[in-house]
């Protein structure tokens, strides 16, 4: 049972990379980037999991009660913020590309081909 999360994150990472590499739609490509990002969340959270641990909130419980590692939660939240920023920027760029070219298929969008 303990190896399952790691298999899940490896799968998500590989599927994400495959999606980005073979994508035919920019929005699909950006979502695949998010899938790759999710694999790192699963990895962080599995790395910090303590069997039988509770959430790392000590409001009503005695200090020293077994809890999962809060550092990985903080790392995941930071990563979510970063991912949001990057995704927002990429989607904004996609909208601008659509306005100019009326297509978001990477096959049809190729920068700097001999248009001189």
């Amino acid at each position: 049972m303990s190896i399952l999360p790691y298999l899940v994150c490896a799968w998500l990472f590989l599927v994400g990379i495959y999606g980005v590499a073979t994508s035919r739609n920019l929005i699909h490509m950006i979502i695949c980037l998010l899938v790759m990002q999710s694999s790192t969340y699963v990895l962080f959270l599995s790395g910090g999991y303590v069997t039988g641990g509770r959430a790392p909130v000590y409001a009503n419980v005695a200090p020293g009660t077994k809890a999962v590692d809060p550092v990985v939660h903080a790392l995941s939240l930071t990563d979510i913020v970063v991912a949001t920023t990057v995704t927002g920027l990429l989607l904004a760029m996609t909208i601008q590309i659509y306005k100019e070219r009326r297509t978001i298929d990477p096959e049809e969008l190729r920068p700097l081909r001999n248009r001189g």
Binding site: C9, F13, G16, I17, V20, A21, T22, S23, L26, M29, L33, M36, Q37, S39, T40, L43, F44, S46, G47, G48, D69, V71, V72, L75, T78, D79, V82, T85, V86, L89, L90, M93, T94, Q96, I97, E100, R101, P106, E107, L109, R110, P111, L112, R113, N114, R115, G116
Partner: protein, 587 residues
């Protein structure tokens, strides 16, 4: 003194917020002035910190969270000579770029200044950070600022180039993140020194090997090494010129620096140097050769310079891969020396774009005849690229040749051939020679609209001065013996992981006896002369119409398809190859 460390990172960020808040009413000149002052202040702070770090690295624990015993509770920023040098390079290039953009852009909103400030802050923060995750956050910040700067013009090609760059670098960032997750799961540590110490005493070798591949591979993507270099040409071709100067001058070298730092502090204590020596030498040699070859076949000046960056970064990676003090010293000196010279060349390309309305060397034939001051600067910078004595690149090559004399011919060829391509373009543009275009005629080009609308009568002084200033920076690297001394110290501290741990956890750095500074030796001078001869001779041959026996244009065009998906496929294949090599070696 300790609390100064965070200032060069914090001040530009605050300035960026100020620019965003004041964007509606702040006039352009005021924004230019404030941005320039902020860069100057950061530069002075970085200089002071660099001077102090020559005696002992300067360490600041954020929020006062000092380590308890062996465990780091907080995040540290550490200025040692290597990070100090790279941060100073970032400040210097930013100053040059901002002086240049004073007259370069007709009209630019404060968004540009805001993004440049964020970029500078992220560069310095990345250089100084002593913690894996902090490095990653600054890496992402660098990325976000540059994706926006690249696509700023909102033209088709800028957006597409920006998107390709963004996708490839994001995949690299996720790969680094995955590697950090693996390191944390093994060691419970994010601090570089602590992670290195824990990995060396316990933990699975295979997991450490995979984590190293993911993290170092991710940083090498930023450093545009083979097989990850495909994004660089598209990004450089479309980004505004002052931004390109920063890209090639300091952002790409920052990726190489990140790889060096993480390897030596976190993985070198834990693993045998064998696999990474092999990987880095292969990657470095391949990048150096491929970058050089691709550089020859370009006619778009910014793409040409971008590929030459790949080649020169390959040389620095070879220095890294040699795994000794001289190699590391060579890598650091080369990164800094090359950064200034490359920045200067990009600013010259910007002058072409501004005054001659193009950067295509064939279309601009002979139109640069009246740019008198710029000619000297351009050709001097080309010689700097070849590694002429007096430049930081020469100093770097000297150290690299001392580290491993067998590769001296490779450095000579890389420097000579890339400089030949630059000289060829310059001779065409400034003197109108070379009427017969060579195979570079087939290269992709863009009818680039100048980033300004009017056709000025003369080159604004600020632009020429900015280019000259950066050239001077490249020149100064070799002239002052203190620079040589500090880069030797930088290298010694870089590779001394036990000393690094001691500095971080016990607040006392091992003393380093200053080494005797040698003068240039005959072999290096001969190699430098050879590089200059190759540069001038090859350029002359091409201008007379000589053709190479075999030109791989078809292959190059297919490889550089312009699709982000292809680049990511190469990235995945490269990471997989590195992982296989590492794991096989672990057995």
């Amino acid at each position: 003194m300790d609390s100064l460390v965070a200032l060069p990172v914090a001040i530009p960020l605050l300035a960026a917020a100020l620019f965003s808040a004041a964007s509606l009413w702040m006039p352009r000149r005021l924004a230019d002035g404030v941005a320039f002052c902020i860069c100057l202040v950061s530069g002075v702070l970085c200089w002071i910190l660099l001077e102090r770090s020559a005696q002992a690295p300067v360490l600041q624990w954020m929020g006062g969270w000092r380590p308890r015993g062996d465990v780091a509770l907080g995040i540290d920023l550490l200025v040692d000579p290597a990070s100090g040098l790279i941060a100073l390079l970032a400040c210097g290039l930013s100053i040059g770029a901002l002086i240049f953009s004073w007259q370069y852009f007709d009209s630019v909103g404060t968004l540009f200044h805001s993004l440049m400030m964020i970029f500078l802050s992220a560069l310095i923060g990345f250089a100084y950070s002593g913690d894996l995750f902090t490095q990653l956050v600054f890496f992402e910040l660098m990325g976000v600022a540059t994706y926006a700067l690249t696509a700023q013009k909102l033209e088709e090609s800028s957006l597409e180039g920006g998107l390709n760059y963004a996708v490839v670098n994001s995949v690299a960032a996720f790969s680094i993140m995955f590697g950090i997750g693996l390191v944390y799961a093994q060691t419970g540590a994010l601090n570089l020194a602590q992670a290195g110490r824990v990995l060396s005493s316990s933990g699975s070798h295979e997991v450490a090997a995979i984590a190293a591949v993911l993290i170092l591979g991710g940083y090498l993507v930023k450093g545009s090494q083979f097989p990850f270099q495909f994004w660089i040409a598209d990004a450089h071709a479309v980004a505004p010129t002052p931004v390109c100067a920063l890209f090639s001058g300091v952002m790409v070298p920052m990726g190489i620096y990140g790889a060096i730092r993480v390897y030596w502090t976190c993985f070198a204590p834990a693993m045998h140097p064998g696999p990474w020596e092999a990987i880095l030498l292969c990657v470095g040699i391949a990048s150096a050769l491929i970058g050089t070859v691709e550089c020859i076949f370009q006619r778009h000046l910014k793409r040409l310079l971008a590929f030459s960056t790949v080649a020169h970064m390959g040389v620095a990676v070879i220095g890294f891969g040699l795994m000794n003090g001289d190699g590391a010293a060579g890598a650091v000196q080369y990164l800094v020396g090359h950064g200034f010279v490359k920045g200067c060349l990009f600013l010259c390309a910007g002058v072409f774009l501004h005054d001659l309305d193009g950067v295509d060397e064939i279309a601009l034939q002979g139109r640069g005849r009246k740019l008198n001051a710029l000619k000297w600067i351009y050709f001097a910078a080309a010689l700097g690229l070849a590694g002429a004595p007096g430049f930081g690149t020469f100093m770097g090559k000297e150290s690299l040749e001392r580290a491993e004399p067998a590769f001296g011919w490779l450095y000579m060829v890389v420097g000579g051939v890339t400089a030949a391509a630059v000289i060829r373009a310059g001779a065409r543009i400034f003197f109108g020679v070379g009427v017969i275009p060579g195979p570079e005629q087939q290269a992709p080009t863009e009818r680039e609209q100048g980033e300004t609308r009017r056709m000025p009568q003369h080159v604004p002084l600020s632009m020429t001065c900015a280019a000259g200033l950066l050239l001077l920076g490249g020149f100064c690297c070799d002239l002052f013996p203190q620079v040589v001394g500090i880069s030797q110290t930088a290298a010694r501290r870089l590779i001394d992981y036990a000393g690094y741990w001691q500095t971080v956890f016990q607040s006392q750095a091992p003393a380093i006896r200053p080494q005797a500074v040698h003068g240039p030796n005959l072999e290096s001078l001969l190699y430098a002369a050879g590089a200059i001869a190759i540069a001038v001779g090859l350029a002359a041959a091409w201008l007379k119409g000589a053709h190479l026996i075999w030109s791989p244009e078809g292959l190059l065009k297919r490889m550089h398809s312009g699709r982000a998906g292809d680049y990511v496929a190469w990235l995945a294949a490269g990471l997989a190859a590195m992982a296989v090599l590492s794991l096989v070696w672990v057995r």
